[in-house]
Structures are given as structure tokens and as C-alpha cells.
Amino acid sequence: MNRLNQLYAWLMLLPALVLLLAFTHIPALTTLWHSLFFPARGRRPSEFAGLENYRSMLDDAVFWQAFYNNLWYAIGTVPTSMGLALAMALWVNSKISGRAALRLAYFTPTMLPMIAVANIWLFFYTPEIGLFNKLLNSVGLSGINWLGDPNWALPSLMLMTIWKEAGFFMIFYLAALQSLNKDIYAAAAVENASPLYVFRRITLPLLMPTTLFVLVNAVLNAFKLVDHLFILTKGGPNNATNLLLYYIYENAFSFFDSNYAAALTLVLLTLLILLALVQFLLIERRVHYR
């Protein structure tokens, strides 16, 4: 019977496991393998390259730019969208008037495909005829070439990403807030604690597990979400908005160098795993479990 159970268990796991292995674990390993070769060119077969792809990566200014862009992009989007998400959740969870409508407004960007809203934002950002510059001009300020100026391009993308994501993270905070124990707040009210104090000493610590969850997701998104680049900037001007995954796509599917793309993928994978570890180690200690 026990042996039979084991068999059943494996049978039930099998389909999921096969697909997971085929599309996550094995590709992660073959990425490493393929990164050690040069691409085949026509009749010339693929040659073993050793670490040559990695060496060219170290010399590749575009790679470094995409790498740092991605870090800035994460730093620029993650805390802001999480902070906004928390604020939104607190508002929507309070007795504010019209909160159902408000909740809807916050959440709607999450429902829209990035690729479609990117086109709408392109209109906001376009110089001369775009909405933002018309607004600036109407109050007597000169316009900005939002996506065309390397100093503004990445922040402009960040702004749009924050808009897209905050509502999504709000939901997680909202869920957590609604499940909080009301007694603690009653006790705090008896103690006459200030709202700020309550927020800092009770709400925030109790939300720590959610914060961890949202943080992991937000960081992951900062590295995997590049849809808007296809419409807004294509990584330009002069790579000012190039991000790692987009650069991987370019190498694999525009330059037909899937081997160099594999080396880049490996860097991204390593980075993500490291970040995940750091986040867990740093925050695990501060999470208050029930």
C-alpha cells in the first residue's frame, strides 16, 4: 500500500514536474551550456568559445549600461510603487467617500495590457504635440523631450511602470489590512495612541510578511517586464533605457546571437537568485509571524 501511495504521488506530480523541468530547470542549465559557444554562421558550425562570450560581455559597454539601467530602474520603481500601494490600500481601507470608485481607479491600470497603454503614454510623452508638454506650455514652462532626452527617458519609463504596478500591489496590502486583528486597534484607541504611532508600531510590523511578498514580486517585475520598451523607446536613445531582458531579446532575435544572449541570460538569472536570497535574509528576521 505504502509503495503504491508513493507511486500515486509520483504519478500525480509527473505532468507538472515534466513541464517544470522542461521549461525552467533544464533551460536554466542549457543556458549555461550554450553560453560557452559561438553562434553558427551559415555553413560554419557553432564553435566552442569557452568563456569568450563572458569576456566580451565585460567589454560590452551596452551590457553594462543595461545592467546599471536595470538596477536604477528597480531602485526607482520598487520603493515608490510599494509606498504608493500602501497609501492606496490605507485610503481605500478607510472610510473615505467614494472608496469603491477609488479602488477601481487605482486598480484599473493593472487590468490593461502594458503594450496597449504604452501607446497611450507615448502620446503623453511626445514633444511638441504631446499632452505633458502642452500642459507645461500652458503654465509657461518649456517642454521636455521626455523619451528623447537620455536624462529623462529612463525616469519617464519608471513613471509609467509605477502607474501600472502600484494598483496591483495595493491589492495585496488591502487583503492584509482587512485580515488584521481589530482588537489591537481597539486597545490602541484606549491607550489614546496617535494615528502615526499606531501605523508605525502596529500596522507596519503586522504588514511585514506582505511587504516581503510584494517586494519579491516588485523586484522580479523590474527585471522581467520590458513590454513597454518595444513601443516607447526600443532601448534608446543611445541605450539610455535599455534593460537586460530587452538586450537579451535584441541579441537573440535581432542579432541572431543566441549564445551571447545565453550568457546574458545567465547573468540575469544569477542576479535574480542573489537578489531573492538577499531579500529573504534581510527581511526574514524582521517579519513577525503570528
Partner: protein
């Protein structure tokens, strides 16, 4: 709360809300008014449907929509089946190496299929599944998130219920189907909604594996339709955008309370 703080809080909350909804409102404005009003706001601007007609003629939206529905549906069905089986095995069936398997599953939470487009594309090409619905769906069917979510839910089901069903002569699958699945309904709903909205909006992987309108979903179709190269025509693009997001948006508006609660439910775990 003092009135002043409340006033401030109210204003801030609603300012943010308006900013957040504005792009969608703008899309409606541009799509329903003649092109010369795209950048001019006039309450009495005449309404028109011409942009919808143009957009509809410029791209096979029905076909794209059909593909999106099939792809999302295919993914969802397989996800539900695979994740239920795997989640149950991981929650309730003791076997050797369970924690290792669980760890392997969780790894996919970090190493998402999007990152591995290059290798997965190779695999799909070998399987000759490029430009098929199945090809778009395959990497997502075994979802670590789904397995994890269902495992957690199944763990909360009282063991006694299972034992009782077992006494009545139910098999493993019978127990799963009659006891666990009904009790996990809210989780299924929540997960289903998350999955559908994610795959309805997914872009990068479908861009890579689809070639023709045989499998091209709405997002990729939108990207081609609205590609800046061909000269941006905002009213038409906005109309196309509304066509593309319409079904999901309508469903969302009708079921929004349910929808948000389900999302929250998913977040809770």
C-alpha cells in the same frame, strides 16, 4: 481624525485616483471624437465611431481575440489540472523527496519563463510548436504559483473529511475530486482570475513564438497594429486599444467586487 488631515487625505487620495484613471479616460476621449480633438478638449466635441471602423478594418481583431481566448483558456485548463494534482501530492501524500520536489517547484517563482525566452524558444522549435496555441501556453502550464497556492489550501482541509470519504470507498482521485476540489473553490476562482488577466496581457513570450495570425494574440497584434514605425495615429490606436481590452474590461467592471476579493484572497496566502 482632525478635519484638516481628513481633507488633505481626501484630496490626495482622489488626485491620485484621477491621475491613475486618466489614461483610460483619455483613450475613450480620443477614440470617440474626431481626430482634430485628439489634443483639444471641448465638451461639445461631436462623437464619432469612425476610428473604431478604421481600427477594425486595419487589423483582424476577431482573430486575435479568438487566439487570446484559446490560449488563455488552454493555459487555464491545464494549469488547474496539473496544479491540482501536484498540489495535492505535495500537500497530502507522503513520499520520499517531497521537500526537494517542493523546493524545485518554488524555484520557478523566481526563474520565470519570461527570463528563459532564448532556451525555451529553442525547445519549442525542436518540438515544432512555434506559432501554435499550445506553444504559447506550454511553458506556463505547470505554474509554481498555482501549485503553491493549492498546496496551502489543501493543507487547511481537515484530515477527517478525507478519512471519512476514504471509508466510503473513495479512491485517491475520488477523494481529491469530491472533498478537496469543492473546498478549494475560492482559491480556484482567485487563481483563475489572476491567471487569465496575466495571460490575456502577456506579450514578450507570445511575441517570440507566434509568427502569423494563426496564433497571434491580441497583445502582439496590438504591438504590430500600433507600431510607431508606421506613423502614430492616436485616435485609431486608442480605438484599437479599447477593442482589445474591451472584453476583459467589461467582465472586470461587472464582476469587480468579486474580482478584487478574489485577487485579495490570492494575495492572502
Amino acid at each position: 481624525m482632525p478635519t484638516l488631515t481628513r481633507m488633505f487625505s481626501f484630496t490626495a487620495a482622489w488626485t491620485l485616483g484621477l491621475v491613475w484613471i486618466f489614461p483610460l479616460l483619455y483613450a475613450f476621449w480620443a477614440a470617440f471624437h474626431p481626430a482634430e480633438y485628439a489634443t483639444r478638449f471641448d465638451l461639445f466635441a461631436p462623437l464619432t465611431l469612425e476610428h473604431f471602423v478604421t481600427a477594425w478594418q486595419q487589423a483582424p481583431f476577431m482573430r486575435y481575440m479568438f487566439n487570446t481566448v484559446m490560449i488563455t483558456g488552454l493555459i487555464l485548463v491545464f494549469q488547474l489540472i496539473l496544479c491540482t494534482l501536484a498540489g495535492y501530492a505535495l500537500a497530502r501524500m507522503p513520499f520520499k523527496g517531497r521537500s526537494l520536489i517542493f523546493a524545485l517547484v518554488l524555484l520557478q517563482l523566481m526563474i520565470v519563463p519570461e527570463i528563459l525566452i532564448v532556451e525555451n524558444y529553442r525547445t519549442l522549435a525542436k518540438l515544432e510548436l512555434i506559432d501554435t496555441w499550445l506553444g504559447v501556453g506550454l511553458p506556463y502550464m505547470a505554474s509554481a504559483f498555482g501549485i503553491f497556492l493549492l498546496r496551502q489550501t489543501f493543507k487547511t482541509v481537515p484530515q477527517e473529511l478525507e478519512d471519512a470519504a476514504r471509508l466510503e470507498g473513495c479512491t485517491w482521485l475520488g477523494v481529491l475530486w469530491k472533498v478537496y476540489v469543492p473546498l478549494a473553490k475560492p482559491t480556484y476562482l482567485a487563481y483563475g482570475l489572476v491567471s487569465v488577466s496575466h495571460h490575456w496581457n502577456n506579450f514578450l513570450w507570445p511575441l517570440v513564438v507566434t509568427n502569423t495570425i494563426n496564433s497571434r494574440p491580441l497583445t502582439v497584434g496590438m504591438a504590430i497594429f500600433g507600431a510607431p514605425e508606421s506613423g502614430v495615429d492616436w485616435p485609431v490606436i486608442c480605438a484599437g486599444t479599447l477593442i482589445a481590452i474591451g472584453p476583459l474590461l467589461i467582465v472586470f467592471l461587472i464582476f469587480q467586487r468579486r474580482f478584487l476579493q478574489s485577487f485579495m484572497h490570492a494575495g492572502l496566502k
